[in-house]
């Protein structure tokens, strides 16, 4: 755990990354307490005729959309989708990737080869195309399907990184010593490997969240991710596209929210990586 502490001290030195981490925390809290934070009901349509496509004002800080819904409130609720899908899919993907990587690294060479060659092929699959296909065929797929699809197509890189690390650790002295002392495989993994893998896995997950948020927003933009009327930043941009020239704020605001959120996750992840994992990865 001293490694974690040293990493934390190094991380603190990256001021931008610390700020990004705080921003991520603020976003997460805002999403969790959306009903308290949002000024209005994200689905309420107070007056679809008189109040539609209102520019930003004191009453509606980010204006209203074509159904007179408050854009800011929809963004706050949309954060639940983006952060929720991002975090859940990243956790799931990293877990699967770490397990496969551990298995490959500890298994016999034949199994290892089989797993890794499969990963080679899987990495070359047109990921987004396959996700689109399943979502289009599975009409009205619930959000957990989106999470599952993203996770199941997103663990390949992590498994490679973890496997490489396991192979290196396996040859290291302390693992050899633990083996000599008769440590069984589960004990070996829990006590000796996981603590060393943890930083890599955490960094991997953090950097994944940003990409997954972008992916989910793209799916929702195409009408295949989170479906209206539930607000997600991607389907809000789709909504705003039709009035892009007359009411640009409707599409601009959720996109800015996406940009800021993804920048925050990437900065945070970069900082973690620099702190915990000063060399390689990639």
């Amino acid at each position: 755990m001293r490694a974690l502490r040293r990493g934390w001290l190094r991380f603190r030195a990256h001021r931008a990354a610390v700020a990004a981490g705080l921003l991520v925390a603020v976003l997460a809290i805002a999403a969790a307490f959306a009903p308290l934070v949002a000024p209005a009901d994200p689905l309420a349509q107070p007056d679809p005729v008189a109040l539609q496509n209102q520019p930003p004002s004191a009453a509606h800080l980010l204006g209203t959309d074509r159904f007179s819904r408050d854009v800011l409130s929809r963004i706050v609720y949309g954060a639940r989708v983006s952060l929720g899908v991002g975090a859940a899919a990243a956790l799931l993907a990293v877990t699967v990737g770490a397990l496969v990587g551990l298995a490959a690294g500890l298994a016999s060479p034949a199994v290892d080869q089989l797993l890794m060659r499969s990963v080679d092929v899987a990495l070359a699959l047109p990921r987004v195309f396959l996700i689109l296909l399943v979502l289009a065929l599975w009409e009205n797929a619930p959000p957990w399907v989106v999470v599952l699809l993203i996770a199941l197509t997103g663990w390949f890189q992590t498994s490679r990184v973890v496997r490489a690390l396991v192979l290196r650790l396996r040859e290291s002295e302390f693992v050899q010593a633990a083996r000599a002392l008769g440590s069984g495989r589960p004990g070996l993994v829990r006590r000796h490997l996981l603590p060393h893998l943890a930083p890599t896995i955490i960094v991997s997950a953090t950097l994944d969240v940003g990409n997954i948020i972008l992916l989910e927003s793209g799916l929702s933009y195409l009408g295949l991710g989170i479906r209206p009327p539930a607000p997600s930043w991607g389907n809000m941009i789709q909504d705003g596209k039709d009035q892009l020239f007359s009411a640009p704020w409707v599409a601009a605001a959720p996109g800015l929210a996406l940009l800021v959120t993804v920048v925050a996750f990437n900065l945070f992840g970069d900082g973690l990586q620099a702190a915990f994992d000063p060399r390689d990865r990639r």
Partner: protein
């Protein structure tokens, strides 16, 4: 080199086979059918549906269908589009060149943008300019491509009226255009979608290239080049850049899938008549043969991208040519 090429080819074949199989299975096992009797919006009599099913072989067992499809594919026959009533090959022949034009332009631009940004940052490493450019790269790296496209559209198309907002050619002008005019018109339509993809993709290149350039600029041979009285421009652009180019080229080759993905979204934003749009429409129409064909083409493009990257690296770095 030969064994290496064979390995690459084997991987490409395995991948394409996997894509075809997965796609075929997904499409055919999913609930729903391309020809639906009695749907509210398009009523088709049941006998017609039966005839269509028979014509396209959909009444056969799935194994037979797959074997037939694979056999046809091996002969280069991609089948017929249900929705368009045309050979799939013709549909692709129409749309694929447009996607390739967009993708290749975007790839070249993203390399220029990414490498340029990487050089600009690395030569100023640690200064405020490096940080500012790094922030720009991070923003481009973190922006959703489709939204960036919309914003560029808004600014350059609607507000400034510099560039056309949609399509690939000006269809309102019915004046016959000669070749050069037509090319210029397509070029004007190409600017925004290609720029959108290039900014997003180039940012990833820049993040890598900055690190590679910083390493190269610190190398002994760069200092030795300075000691020979070479100008700074030559030292940076010839000595450091040439040796740092390999990772950028690799990354560009590996970014082909990302470009294809991006083109689905960006083509939809800009109304660019490419393969991304064809794929999108085919998925919703359950146009099986088109869907599978797009998957095959995507697999081939990805493999070609990897191969080009390897060749590019070999051209840039004589040390890897031995392998």
């Amino acid at each position: 080199m030969l064994t290496y090429l064979l390995r690459r080819l084997a991987l490409a074949l395995a991948t394409t086979a996997a894509v075809v199989t997965i796609t075929f299975a997904l499409v055919h096992l999913a609930p729903g059918e391309p020809f639906v009797a009695g749907a509210e919006d398009r009523f088709v009599p049941p006998e017609t549906v039966a005839r269509l099913r028979e014509r396209f072989g959909l009444d056969r067992p799935l194994g037979v269908q797959f074997a037939r499809y694979a056999a046809n594919l091996a002969h280069g026959d991609l089948g017929e589009s249900f929705a368009r009533h045309r050979p799939v090959a013709a549909v692709l022949a129409e749309s694929l060149p447009n996607t390739l034009l967009l993708g290749a332009t975007a790839l070249v631009l993203s390399l220029l943008f990414g490498i340029g940004l990487g050089i600009a940052q690395a030569t100023r490493a640690g200064t405020w300019a490096d940080s500012a450019l790094g922030a720009l790269a991070l923003a481009c790296y973190s922006v959703p491509a489709f939204w960036l496209g919309l914003m560029l559209l808004l600014v350059f198309g609607e507000w400034l009226h510099w560039l056309p907002v949609s399509g690939m050619a000006d269809v309102t002008l019915r004046v016959p255009m000669d070749g050069l005019r037509h090319a210029l018109d397509v070029g004007r339509h190409l600017v925004l979608p290609a720029l959108t993809l290039a900014l997003v993709n180039g940012a990833a290149v820049a993040r890598f290239h900055r690190a590679a350039m910083i390493e190269a600029l610190g190398a002994d041979f760069v200092r030795a080049a300075r000691a020979r009285g070479l100008g700074e421009r030559r030292v940076v652009l010839r000595h450091a850049l040439r040796s740092a180019l390999a990772p950028a080229i690799t990354l560009a080759g590996l970014s082909v899938p990302a470009l294809l993905t991006g083109s689905v979204l960006v083509e939809s934003v800009f109304g660019w008549p490419g393969m991304g749009r064809v794929a999108y429409e085919a998925i919703f129409a359950r146009d099986y043969n088109v869907i599978t064909a797009v998957a095959v083409v995507a697999g081939v493009l990805v493999a070609v991208g990897n191969l080009l990257a390897d060749l590019g690296v070999a051209a840039a770095d004589p040390r890897v040519r031995r392998a």
